[in-house]
């Protein structure tokens, strides 16, 4: 970035509530003033100061006092498209917002941005995955600016116990976009006397990464839970013999999941079902499709077979590994005690799902007549106590009865129905079969949510014989959107 001293440097700072955009602006102003740059800044705090995006705008004139004028600089108070030298952004979409506002342009702008995402309400609330990919955003920014410095500053902030503004300030220093020494930057943090130690730690990490001193990027990836149970070696060998190599990894994970969920017979049931799909796949030109149908069906089938019933939930809630994960998530150290309360609200249908089909139907018809339990049974369980843990453990122990339960019969019937429609579709059109497979994604949630979604799943399957692939896709997507 050039610094002609015939005009002020124009700087836009895009931040969200709680990220310290105001403090960052004050650091920047203090920094520039300490180096004899003239400074003006302003901002639009908006309605509530705590959520939403806030834009700060700062202009600073290098060596202004040498100008020998009694005039003062005229700050525009708002950034002008095509006229911004430096954009600082605390999050990837905020960099995208600056781009769309025209504040980032090829011949002028340097951008320093965090590459992480904080999702907007629209992205969080949609029943479909509509999250915007930060790589897409930042590559678009990179193509329209002079220089882009970016890395995951949220992870750096978490790693240093600071907030993003300190890391971003460090990145500005480390990338050398302003003609000031590192000491000048840190002096501003010290003068502000706000959480100085933590902010300096964040600053140092941001500086190290942006300057290339360190390639050691902290990350925020969470590991998936390893399965406790493994499928038998015979079953694994049989799987490898039968299925194309491309999908072995997927199937191994699916088999682990089902072994963990139920038993080896259930794993075998899975393989048998999928083998029928593979044969249909092969018969309909699956090889040139890379056996996509088998893969996709295999992915959805394990989801449907490992359905979430109260036995499964009680099991997952009482695992040793869950206790460890939970302590880590709430950032508890060894000297702290963590008490845990789990919130459950099973409905009548969920409670009876572990009974035999005959008994379950009688309870349900009683419940339908009298309204008994139709609002569910709210329960709080103190899972960290021995009694709370035992109660859940006993429910988890009902696993051995699962294959004789009402819910099991219902789920298997639904799965068989789905596979039948899917195989029928495969004979007509490969893509239709793929769409039919994806319909399994409609099944979601617990209790009433699950009942409704299962109903929608059943309804859409009925339509498959009459429609084509693109119609089914549209129908599936609208069904998902309107389920919200």
């Amino acid at each position: 970035m050039d610094h002609p001293d015939t005009r002020p440097i124009r700087i836009v700072i895009g931040a969200m509530g709680g990220e310290g955009g105001g403090l960052l602006t004050q650091w920047m102003a203090d920094l520039c003033e300490s180096q004899n740059f003239e400074v003006r800044y302003t901002y639009v705090p908006g309605v509530a100061q705590r959520t939403g995006a806030t834009t700060y705008y700062l202009e600073t004139w290098p060596n202004f006092s040498e100008h020998n004028t009694n005039q003062s600089m005229v700050c525009a108070l708002m950034p002008c498209p095509g006229d911004v030298d430096l954009v600082l952004s605390t999050e990837a979409v905020e960099a995208g917002r600056a781009l769309q506002a025209g504040f980032i342009t090829r011949s002028r702008t340097t951008v320093v941005s965090s590459s992480h995402r904080a999702y907007a309400v629209a992205e969080k609330a949609s029943p479909r995955d509509v999250r915007i990919d930060p790589e897409y955003l930042l590559s678009a920014v990179a193509a329209q600016c002079q220089r882009l410095v970016h890395f995951d500053m949220a992870a750096c902030a978490a790693a240093t116990g600071s907030i993003i503004n300190a890391v971003l300030f460090g990145a500005v220093a480390g990338a050398g976009v302003l003609p000031f020494s590192r000491q000048a930057f840190t002096a501003s943090i010290q003068r502000s006397s706000v959480a100085v130690a933590a902010n300096l730690a964040g600053f140092d990490l941001g500086f190290a990464i942006a300057s290339g001193e360190s390639k050691d990027l902290p990350t925020t990836i969470t590991e998936s839970s390893p399965a406790r149970a493994q499928p038998t070696t015979q079953a694994l060998a049989a799987m490898k013999d039968t299925f194309p190599p491309d999908i072995h990894d997927l199937l191994r994970m699916a088999m682990e999941r089902l072994a963990d969920y139920q038993d080896s017979a259930y794993v075998q049931l899975y393989l048998n079902r999928l083998q029928a799909v593979l044969e249909a796949d092969r018969a309909n030109g699956g090889e040139q499709h890379g056996y996509t149908l088998t893969r996709e069906t295999g992915r959805w089938l394990v989801r449907l077979m490992a359905y979430d019933d109260i036995i499964r939930v009680a099991d997952l809630k009482t695992r040793r590994q869950r206790f460890a994960r939970l302590r880590e998530e709430v950032r508890a150290n060894e000297n702290q005690i963590v008490r845990v309360v789990d919130y459950f609200k099973p409905g009548t249908d969920e409670l009876v799902s572990i009974l035999s089909p005959k008994l379950a139907k009688r309870v349900l018809s009683f419940s339908a007549r009298t309204g008994f339990g139709n609002r569910g049974f709210p329960i709080k369980v103190k899972t960290d106590t021995v009694s709370g843990f035992l109660a859940l453990r006993i429910i988890a122990g009902l696993r051995s009865r699962r294959t004789r339960s009402y819910r099991y019969f219902k789920e298997q019937a639904a799965i068989e129905n789905w596979l039948r429609q899917l195989l029928g579709a495969a004979r007509r059109d490969y893509n239709l079969a793929l769409e039919a497979a994806a319909c399994a994604g409609l099944v979601k949630g617990y209790g009433q949510t699950h009942l409704h979604s299962a109903g929608r799943f059943e309804a859409i399957l009925k339509k498959i014989p009459q429609i084509d692939a693109s119609a089914l896709r549209t129908l599936r997507e609208t069904t998902l959107d309107t389920s919200a």
């Binding site: 705090p45 509530a48 100061q49 939403g52 525009a76 309400v121 789990d342 099973p346 949510t449």
Partner: protein, 713 residues
């Protein structure tokens, strides 16, 4: 204590003559008031001048020393009424509020004071909430000034100019016996800069030197025949004196330029944006040296005909840059030049958009069109245009680089906000009983109209939620639900809403959101603010107040108790005896609460005492990713992350570490029958030895039981 503390910054209000004052706009205005010798200040908070109220509160000690009385008025009307002090007596005073909404509320007192006229200088400081970042209807304060014959200052958004406008404002007010309005746009209120300070001075009379003699002058009472005389006085006396004062003291500036056959007339408040536009067009530098002559209006009402004629004379064309509508200034200039023999073409809204904020790119387009039409001597339009085409291409490449607009981030309820469970409860009631017409009000609670709640069909003014139901309710089959915040309640809702409904026998349900502060504007204290927190010696309660005006059916419910709220709402809606049913939803603003709680927590940790922290969490392997929880909550700390399960598709819900443990997620998991993934974790710091022992035993037993979990079969 307000959200933002200015206790450090207010020290610079003591700056002496010649010292450099650095700070934001509202702080500079406060300093200017103290330099001008005011005896009283009043106001009502609201963006963009909320911080000025905070500054004045935090400057209590300095005010006391100077004998300046400050009133956190109950409403803008109450603040404006304070100006009566200056009608008979040589007291300088200032009032502050958000405009145009605050000016609407203050209009009665303002018009009366303007009619009676003032002896002491009076400044009405309005935060012009117009353009980007505004939270209200888009209107101009200009009309208020003109209709009451008050003078309107619109200074350049630079601290020396703003401070000078305050000082001149008082002099102008006294020279013309007229209240003067000073408008500051949003960015000007927050602009950081510097100016050379003067000593503060106490008012001629104040709490330390009170007035001794009461004055009676019927001519100052707004009743016939005085009121008729006052109107005449405005025109025959005050107006000519104003014109004289403004031109003698050169409040407006005529800035020279090379292209003498054209010119621009601009409001002071948007001069800086104009200069940047000219700079980008290579017609000015960043010090404000323009090639086009500019007539800069610090006083936008009244205009000075002689100055305008002098500026326009000899020019082919002049562009009037006037933000907002109607274009009072442009019309007035055209009318004034008519018949004077000056045939300058006056342009304005024909080249610039009629409505909306004048941002730099808009001005660039307008100025380019103006130059193309006016073709001034010595300007190479072709060079300018080709440079602009290049810039425009780059900007449009950037603006179209992404295939879709990035998602908006509208303001919403904060983490742990006590209003979230209230609207979740209302959403649950609507799921059972169908949609209702909900009358909204002004305040944080109006965020209910945004996703994911989408509750609240209209809002017509502060404290008017209930009153705005009274026309529709009798014509609507279902009962109406009205919302009112505690701020709006004390502002006027108690009388215009509750007393009005009781008096007229209206039916319906009123939900009063009692979070303890004027929260949206930054936690200013209101009459029902907890005494310990407000520092006020008195605390009035909302429940007593509504019972006092005759409300019979009143329930006060903790806002986080969704179950009780759903039951009570259902009861209020379905109960047959007619009348007003009031539910007071109580829950302290979580932001204010957290400031206190976090500090106490840290202090406990520092001295090794037992301290609890509660937060909610979600088990990712139990979450199915349907996100029903997000749609019922919208809490910023409830978000999504990549599914750690490679077999699953789509993200799972997650509660991040900003969670303050309000417990709403757990409550909603029960009330809405969400899913079993939610848990509440209580982290105990420095536990007692007894707790530690019990915990160890539990962990040992549970660990042993987990060790015997069934393995592979």
């Amino acid at each position: 204590m307000a959200e933002r503390s200015f206790s450090k910054e207010v020290q610079s209000l003591r700056n002496r003559d010649g010292e450099i004052f650095r700070g934001e706009g509202v702080l500079a205005v406060t300093k200017a008031l103290l330099q001008s010798g005011v005896s009283y200040i009043g106001g009502y908070q609201g963006s963009p001048i909320s911080h000025m109220m905070d500054v004045l509160n935090d400057a209590a000690e300095i005010r006391r020393e100077l004998g300046v009385h400050f009133e956190n008025a109950a409403s803008e009307a109450a603040a404006a009424a304070m100006l009566a002090a200056s009608i008979h007596y040589p007291l300088r005073g200032a009032v502050i509020w958000k405009s145009t909404v605050g000016t609407n509320v203050a209009a009665d007192a303002l018009a009366n004071v303007a009619s009676a006229g003032v002896r002491g200088g009076v400044l009405v400081i309005v935060g012009e909430d117009y353009g980007e970042g505004s939270s209200i209807m888009q209107e101009r304060t200009h009309a208020f000034a003109a209709k009451s014959q008050m003078w309107l200052l619109d200074p350049r958004p630079d601290l020396p100019a703003i401070v000078a406008a305050v000082e001149h404002g008082f002099e102008l007010s006294e020279a013309t016996n007229t209240p003067v309005m000073l408008m500051l746009r949003i960015r000007a209120c927050h602009v950081y800069g510097s100016f050379v300070a003067k000593d503060n001075r106490p008012g001629q009379y104040n709490a330390h030197h009170p007035l001794e003699q009461a004055v009676f002058d019927y001519n100052k009472v707004v009743l016939p025949p005085s009121s008729y005389q006052q109107e005449q006085l405005k025109i025959t006396e005050r107006w000519p004196r104003a014109l004289r004062f403004i031109s003698t003291n050169k409040l407006n500036q005529s800035l020279p330029g090379d292209y003498v056959d054209i010119g621009i007339i601009v409001q002071g408040g948007i001069y800086n944006a104009l200069n940047r536009s000219l700079e980008i067009l290579s017609l000015a530098d960043a010090l404000g040296n323009s090639k086009i002559p500019i007539y800069l209006l610090t006083v936008t009402y009244p205009l000075i005909p002689e100055e305008i004629r002098a500026f326009c004379a000899g020019k082919k064309a002049v562009l009037v840059i006037e933000e907002g509508q109607p274009n009072y200034i442009e019309q007035s200039i055209k009318a004034d030049l008519h018949g004077t023999g000056i045939d300058t073409q006056i342009h304005g809204k024909n080249l610039l958009p009629t409505a909306g904020e004048y941002k730099t790119r808009i001005l660039i387009t307008g100025i380019t069109r103006f130059l193309n039409g006016a073709t001034p001597a010595g300007v190479s339009l072709a060079t300018m245009e080709s440079a602009q085409q290049q810039a425009t291409r780059e900007i449009s490449d950037s603006q179209t680089a992404l295939e879709f607009p990035v998602p908006a981030r509208p303001p919403g309820f904060c983490i742990g906000c006590p209003e979230r469970p209230l609207f979740s409860a209302l959403k649950l009631v609507q799921q059972e009983l169908g949609e209702f017409h909900v009358s909204g009000d002004i305040g944080c609670h109006l965020f209910s109209t945004l996703p994911p709640f989408n509750i609240g069909q209209h809002t017509v003014g502060y404290g008017l939620g209930l009153a705005s139901s009274s026309g529709l309710a009798p014509n609507f089959a279902k009962p109406l639900i009205s919302i009112m915040g505690d701020g709006g309640f004390w502002h006027n809702g108690l009388t215009s809403g509750v007393a009005n409904a009781v008096f007229n026998g209206d039916n319906g349900v009123l939900l009063i959101v009692d979070n303890g502060y004027a929260a949206a504007t930054g936690h200013q204290a209101i009459p029902s603010t907890d005494q310990a927190r407000s520092g006020n010696p008195v605390q009035m309660t909302i429940e007593k107040a509504v019972r006092g005006v005759g409300a019979q059916w009143v329930r006060t419910i903790p806002s986080y108790d969704v179950k009780q709220m759903v039951t009570t709402l259902t009861e209020a809606i379905s109960q047959s005896p007619p009348g007003l049913k009031i539910i007071i939803s109580q829950g302290e603003c979580q932001l204010a609460r957290q400031r206190r709680v976090k500090q106490a927590h840290q202090e406990a940790l520092d001295c090794g005492a037992r301290a609890l922290r509660v937060r909610l969490g979600i088990d990712p392997d139990i979450c199915t990713g349907d996100r029903a929880c997000v749609r019922l909550s919208g809490c910023p700390s409830l978000t999504v992350k990549d599914n750690p399960d490679p077999l699953a598709d789509g993200p799972v819900a997650v509660i991040d570490n900003q969670c303050v443990g309000c417990g709403n997620c757990g409550v909603m998991a029960h009330q809405a029958g969400l899913c079993p993934s939610f848990f509440e974790a209580t982290i105990i710091n420095n536990p007692s030895w007894r707790e530690r022992t019990i915990s160890n035993v539990r962990q040992w037993v549970i660990g042993a039981l987990q060790g015997s979990e069934p393995r592979t079969r």
